[in-house]
Subunit: 335 residues, 2 copies
Amino acid sequence: MTTDIITEEELNEIYTFAVQLGKDAGKLLLDAAQLRYAGSQAAALQVEEKDSAVDIVTKTDEDVEAFIKTSIEAKYPHHKFIGEETYSKGASRSYMISDTTPTWCVDPLDGTVNYTHLFPMFCVSIAFIVAGKPIIGIIYAPFLNQLFTSCRGRGAWLNETQQLPLMRNPIPPMPANAPSGCVFACEWGKDRKDRPDGNLYRKVESFMNMAAEMGGRGGKGGMVHGIRSLGSATMDLAYTAMGGVDIWWEGGCWEWDVAAGIAILQEAGGLVTTANPPEDPETAEIEEVRLGSRLYLAIRPAGPSQTESGREGQERTVREVWRRVRELDYERPGA
Amino acid sequence: MTTDIITEEELNEIYTFAVQLGKDAGKLLLDAAQLRYAGSQAAALQVEEKDSAVDIVTKTDEDVEAFIKTSIEAKYPHHKFIGEETYSKGASRSYMISDTTPTWCVDPLDGTVNYTHLFPMFCVSIAFIVAGKPIIGIIYAPFLNQLFTSCRGRGAWLNETQQLPLMRNPIPPMPANAPSGCVFACEWGKDRKDRPDGNLYRKVESFMNMAAEMGGRGGKGGMVHGIRSLGSATMDLAYTAMGGVDIWWEGGCWEWDVAAGIAILQEAGGLVTTANPPEDPETAEIEEVRLGSRLYLAIRPAGPSQTESGREGQERTVREVWRRVRELDYERPGA
C-alpha cells in the first residue's frame, strides 16, 4: 500500500482520530500521575529496572500503550502497530517500520525519568507512517497542557490554534554566525560508561565545542546562545518545530521517540538529518533522516535572509554543527 | 525594622498584593511575546547586547520592571526595591539587600535567552525580604501558565491549588544512593571562556562526575537519574520546590534570580546552601544560604526514611554533591 491509496478524506479522518487518541492517552498519563501525589501510597507507581538504572519503565507506560494499541486495532485493523513496550518485549531488535503497510509508531510515555519524578517534560507521542514517512504527528504533554499536532499538507500546530513555528511574520532566518545565537538542545542520555572516547565523553566534548567562545577549542567553539536538556527527545523535537530550540542533536533514540516529532518538525518547515558528521562535512550531501538510524540532527524552520534561502541557512547550520560534534556509536540491526 | 513589626494580617495583605502583581507582570511578558509572533515586524523585540552575546536584555524586561516598581512604590512607599535592571544601570555592584528595611527583590524576566527564542522557560520572579530573609516568593511562567507562590507559614503552591512538593503522601525520602536516582538540574551559564580550569571547565567536570556510572571517574561517578538544563535559575528552583528536580547546583546567579525561588523552596521544605564544597565536605557545617553569595546548591523537600530524617537525607545529599563538584569562581563585592 502506498500513500496514494489513502485519500485526503481518509487522511482527515485518521488525523482527527489521532488527535483525540493523543488527548485521551495524555489524560491517562496525567490521571495516573495525580493519583500519586493526591494520595495513597498504595497508588504509588511500580517502577522496575530495565536496561540500566536510568531506563525505567512503569506500569502506566504499559497500560497507556495497551489503550492506544487497542483503540487503533479497533478502528484500523489493517494498519500495523509498533510501540516501545511491544518492541522491548519482542524477540527482534531490527527495524520494523513497513514500507508497504500504513504503520502507527507510538511512545505511550516519552520522558519516563521525568514522569517518575514529576518533572513536567513527559508526553505521549503518536505517529502515522505511510511508505516509510511519518505524515501525522501527535505529541501531548499533559502536565504542561501542550498539544503539538501535524498532518501532511495541513500545517503543524500548538494546541490546535497556534501555527508552528510561532514566530512566522516573518519566520526568522538562521543566525548569520550559527551555531552562535542558537538555542542548542541535547541530552546526556543513558550511556554513562566511564570509557575513554565512549559515547558519554564524545557527547560532552561535542557539547563543550558548541558552548565555548567563538575561536576557542581550536576553532571549534560555537558560542551557542544557550544549552538546554529536557530529558525528552520528543519534547526537544516539538520545541524545535515551535522555534524555541534552533538545533537538536542526539544519538540513541528509537523511532517511537522521534517519529511524531519528525512529522511535526518537517510539516513546520524544519530539517532533520543524521547526527554523525560525514567525512567531508563542508560538501557532503545533507541526507534525509532515516527514521530507524538512532542518530538525529534537527534544525528549526527558517526563513530567508537577504543572502540565502531558509533551506540554505538550515544546511549551513547543519555543516557548522557537524564540524563541532563527534561521531556517536549507536547502532541497530535492520535500519 | 524587623519581621516582628509586620503583623500576620499585614503579611497576608502583602502576599495577596504580590500574587496579583506576579500575575499582571507575567501577562505583560506574554502579551509582548505574542505581539512578536502574531504579527508585525515593527513589533519585533529590540535586543541589545549587554555583557556578552549570551546576556541579552530586552525592552520588555525594562518595561515590566518599571511596572512592578511603580506598583510597589504606590502601595508600599517605605519599602525598598531592587531589580535586575535598576542594578545593572546603577553605579554600585555591591550587595544591596537591607537587613533593616523590608525589601522587594525582583527579576522582571528570568530566562531572557529563552524569552528571545520563545523557549517556554521564562518567568517573572518577585520576592519580599524581611530582615535579610525572603519570606514571600512569586514565580509566574506565563507561557506554561505555571504560578508558584509562597508566604512564610502559609505553604508553597502551584497555581494556588496544589501544595508543594507535589508528592506529599508521603513526601519521598532522598534516594539511599543519592545523587544516584536524582534529577540533577544545572546550567551552562554565560561564562564560556576557553580557559583551562575556568568556570566552564569546572562546571563540565562537575556535570560529568554527577553523570558518570557509579564507581567511575575515580569514585566520583554519581549516576544521576537525569541531567536537566532549563536556562532559568528561577524555574530550576521552582521545580526543585515542586519535587521534579532533586538537586540544583549553580554559580553566577544574582539575588533577584533566586530570592523568590529560595522563599518557595524553603517554605516547601527544601534545603539551600552554597555550591562550593568546604574544605572537609564530609563533616563541615551545612551553612544557611547567603542570598548574595552567587553560589547555590538546592535540595528538594524530603521525607524521612526508616533510617534517617528528611533533613538528614538532604544533608547527606549535599555532602555527596560537594564530593563531586569543583569550586566555582564567582564573586561579588559586599556579600
